[in-house]
């Protein structure tokens, strides 16, 4: 049945999700049987047992994201959202690898940019220019670092303007990152960037 609806790469991801679910059930049963059950340690036992398949799923999922991101279309981003929701709903990977919070943040930015594109007739959606997970995570982290430098006065502070121009990132993108990142004086950062723009 899967063959009719999904591409080979997509089927691989789905199969691995099923395998991880099955393994997770087995690990749960094993933990429940353990007489010395200790809730503080359970998560680590689970991580130990599921490490190999989790890394495989991560690799397959990242590949699938690369395929979709390379398309640079709104439709592909809607698919990315569906794939991410699947992992989030099943509580898989999203809290285990740092790439996923980055993806989550950029999905939220996409939603904001899409809203502005439709309702306010903004001319473009800047996240469509991120063509793979490497570019996405680089843009996410670099923007956090540059915004944070503004907060603490770490030189060079205005490097963010050149970076935004170079990567064609919108103010919506910057707002989205500032809202998500560990930046405490968000107002100071946004005000400085808006003054420079």
């Amino acid at each position: 049945m899967l063959e009719h609806f999904f591409l080979p790469e997509e089927r691989e991801v789905l199969r691995t999700i099923c395998q991880l679910e099955t393994l997770d059930c087995l690990v749960t049963r094993k933990i429940e049987k353990d007489a010395e059950r200790n809730s503080a340690v359970e998560a680590f036992i689970r991580a130990e047992q599921e490490a190999e398949i989790s890394f495989l799923l991560k690799e397959q999922f990242m590949h699938q994201m690369d395929i979709l991101l390379s398309k640079g279309t709104v439709e592909a981003w809607l698919e990315i959202m569906i794939w991410y929701s699947l992992l989030e709903e099943k509580k898989m990977l999203v809290e285990d690898f740092w790439e996923f919070p980055a993806l989550r943040a950029v999905i939220d930015i996409f939603m904001r940019e899409l809203g502005a594109f439709v309702e306010e007739r903004v001319d473009r959606i800047s996240v469509l220019s991120l063509h793979n997970m490497q570019e996405l995570t680089d843009a996410y982290l670099k923007t956090i670092f540059l915004c944070r430098r503004i907060e603490y006065g770490v030189e060079p502070m205005d490097e963010i303007i050149g970076y935004m121009e170079n990567k064609k990132l919108s103010m919506v993108f910057i707002h989205g990152i500032v809202d998500t990142a560990q930046i405490y004086n968000k107002e100071k950062v946004i005000k400085a960037i808006e003054e420079w723009c």
């Binding site: 503080a40 340690v41 490490a51 285990d96 740092w98 680089d138 944070r148 770490v154 560990q182 405490y184």
Partner: protein, 226 residues
Amino acid sequence: MVLERMADEKKICFIICVNNDFFYEECVKYIHWLELPEGMELEILEIRDAKSMASGYQRGMMRSNAKYKVYMHQDVFIINRYFIHDIIAIFKSQEKVGLIGLIGSVKVPRNGVMWSEGRVGNWTEMIPWEGYRYDMEKDGGWEVEGVDGLLMATQYDIPWREDLFDGWDFYDLAHCFEMKRGGYHIVVPVQRHIWFIHDDKAALALWNYNKYRKIFVEEYIKDLDL
């Protein structure tokens, strides 16, 4: 066992295991941003291709003659501009303090999972960093049994247990217990404004945590009964 070496009291060395230049370069920017006490020399050692955190830190420790050493993760950014002043003040005022951390556990639980019974070190007030200065007398600190390896500052060289901890977990707690075996105390300063940012969202990489937890419990939990 403290390594008896000629230590330069006018020198502080930051020792960082590096596998990501993106993070490391940003981390170093914040180290250079810190106020350096007059007459003090700053050294930064980047440790590449470490087999484990403990072995990387051991290599760094042996390479530097600085009395004060700060072992920290590449994804930690120190945002207390007077960090160097503050830790040196603590060390100088209390010779028996061997190690300072930024987050710690007053009592390490017998299962070895530091966070399962609460932790100390989280900041208490939302005040602008520009107006913040740590006051050792007024703010003080907590005496703890263990600290998180995100940042560990020392004033004595105690060997890292690279023989037991050949991965990326529990090297920190093991080092704390080695410090205690050496007769030193461990403190976490009270941070009214947070001293650091740790960009570790979902990057805890705890896949081998249970393996090293068992090794830790086997080696050190008996110390809790002393």
